[in-house]
């Protein structure tokens, strides 16, 4: 989907086409998921979009509610994803931004320059998924011990012994 004026779209005034920075389409998709507009954007334009949403007086998404990563093995070119949830408290609007990236390139620009609260949130996602937040002031593990040499929330680390099959979906006819 291409938008000329994402601002108008996000404000609920209709849709348009991508402003476009070079050859990268900024917004790859916009959809409504339950009570949230979900916008998938290109990783390269993440900082531009975040600071536009935060600083533009009409957008006013000044509050970072939460952010989290996820691992989608098998999704070619987008095995890893990050989700940012923003909130406009004055107008009571919420928005979810998503970016996807291949496993080989886990560099994500840090949001700590815009919101200090992103500091621990990003440390947590580094801790569990191994995202490299470029420009983060203090990128260390936060909940797991420093000596750990893997990223536990990735899907290749099973929670239980692989020899156990009693909870496999196949056993339930899926």
């Amino acid at each position: 989907m291409k938008l000329a004026d994402p601002k108008r779209y996000l404000l609920g005034w209709g849709d348009g086409n991508t402003p476009g920075s070079g050859s990268i389409p900024v917004i790859s998709s916009i959809e409504q998921s339950y009570d949230f507009p979900v916008v998938v954007i290109a990783k390269q334009s993440l900082m531009d979009v975040l600071s536009f949403l935060k600083n533009d007086p009409e957008m006013g998404f000044t509050f970072l509610t939460t952010l989290c990563g996820f691992h989608v093995p098998g999704y070619e070119g987008g095995e890893f994803g990050m989700m940012y949830q923003l909130q406009n408290m004055q107008q009571n609007r919420r928005l979810r931004l998503k970016i996807f990236m291949p496993e080989t390139d886990l560099d994500v620009p840090t949001a700590t320059n815009l919101w200090p609260t992103a500091n621990w949130m990003e440390r947590q996602e580094y801790d569990f998924f191994g995202f490299n937040f470029v420009g983060h002031p203090d990128l260390r593990r936060i909940l797991n011990m420093d000596e750990m040499n893997y990223f536990p929330l990735r899907k290749q680390y099973p929670l239980e012994d692989l020899g156990k099959h009693d909870k496999d979906d196949a056993k339930f006819g899926r």
Binding site: F63, T66, T117, L143, L159, E160, R174
Partner: protein
């Protein structure tokens, strides 16, 4: 010591003081390394995660109904709010409308949990300033709340109450009796507690202007709940995004001005009174009807007498216990106003029997990173005067 890079300091010789790690049973499960200039705290570095329990990973291997007991453990002071938040998240995902009576019962239980949570915060801050008696007096009222929980679901702290689609059982006559007793006697006990601390010279000296934060900084640090309201921002999930029929109730949102420990204490104190008023309104206007949604038999355990006598009920009982439910694909976020702030559940479902990814937005994890900034310039005896 690892330097805290967020707070730059002038070149000087500082004293390093280690606090903790404290035992999980005491409040504040973390280690704090303070950097002191004489008696003044200049910087601090917190180490958390000593009892990290990997709930997000655990949830990826558990069916939806088996995640509710995990949510208890996220905040044992107000476990029912976490339970209900999780049930409402799944209900939003599967598109289930909960009957009005179940919603009102949930509101009563959640507000009782909020009172219990605020009792702990407000009385423990008294203990930290050296006033143990208020803590002991008010804990009797907390005990009454836990007796009501016991009557409703059989457990006191880790309640696992409510089910996806409604409540597991209605309030028994005994539960109503205990609730009425509590509603009648709580105000005078709260008044007694208030009199011990509210205008107490020592308490005021040790909390006013201690750990203050401005509204701008609080928002930048992602504060929610009473700590944000103490800084003067009237944000409450119950009002902004009403869930479970909160729009039916009349209540005020107390706000502070300085965002210091005293304001946080006051906001919680007033919220207890507002919660009590919500409980009274819910009791007065309690609608009749079923306590669970009949639309979701695949989630709601059938009554035991039917399980023993009817085949279909038995099949559903097995299917639910084995975690065999049809869940639509999708992603959903649901937030409730927890005892300490916005408690959010971000759930990605791939249609399997377990969540694909479940992320909890824990309010305390998010705002604890403001701690070094809030205690800077204070002295050691004040450094733990930060609610939560």
């Amino acid at each position: 010591m690892i330097e805290n890079p967020t707070i730059p300091l002038p070149e000087k010789e500082y004293v390093t003081l280690n606090l903790g790690p404290t035992h999980p049973a005491t409040h504040g499960i973390f280690q704090n390394v303070l950097k002191m200039d004489g008696e003044i705290i200049m910087s601090s570095q917190a180490t958390i995660g000593y009892i990290h329990r990997a709930f997000e990973k655990l949830a990826e291997r558990r069916p939806y109904n088996q995640i509710a007991p995990i949510t208890d453990r996220m905040n044992y002071c107000s476990a029912p709010i976490n339970n209900m938040g999780w049930h409402m998240t799944v209900e939003k995902l599967i598109g289930c409308e909960v009957p009005k009576r179940a919603q009102y019962i949930r509101v009563i239980i959640m507000e009782l949990a909020r009172i219990a949570d605020h009792i702990i915060c407000d009385s423990v801050i008294g203990v930290d300033t050296g006033a143990l008696s208020g803590f002991l007096y008010i804990f009797q009222e907390r005990e009454h709340i836990y007796e009501i929980f016991e009557e409703v679901c059989g457990a006191r702290l880790t309640t696992n109450t409510g089910r996806i689609g409604g409540m597991e059982r209605d309030f028994s006559p005994k539960a109503w009796e205990k609730l009425e007793y509590f509603v009648k006697h709580f105000p005078e006990k709260l008044q007694e507690f208030e009199n011990l601390l509210l205008r107490n010279r020592i308490f005021m000296d040790r909390t006013i202007n201690v750990g203050p934060i401005t509204a701008e900084r609080a928002l930048a640090y992602g504060f929610t709940g009473p700590n944000l309201r103490a800084a003067g921002v009237d944000y409450d999930v119950r009002v902004m995004n009403p869930y479970s029929s909160y729009e039916d109730f009349q209540f005020d949102i107390p706000v502070g001005t300085n965002g210091d420990t005293y304001d946080r204490f006051m906001v919680r104190l007033e919220e207890m009174k507002q919660s009590l008023s919500i409980i009274k309104q819910a009791m007065k206007n309690m609608p009749d009807g079923p306590i669970y949604s009949p639309d979701v038999p695949a989630f709601y355990l059938p009554p035991k007498e039917e399980v023993y006598s009817k085949m279909e009920a038995l099949i559903y009982q097995f299917k639910i216990v084995m975690g065999e439910m049809d869940v639509p694909k999708g992603e959903v976020y649901h937030a409730v106003e927890g005892g300490n702030g916005e408690l959010g559940f971000y759930l990605i479902s791939d249609g399997g029997r377990t969540p694909f990814r479940l992320h909890f937005r824990r309010p305390c994890f998010i705002y604890y990173q403001a701690y070094p900034e809030m205690i800077q310039g204070g002295d050691v005896e004040r450094c733990d005067f930060d609610d939560e």
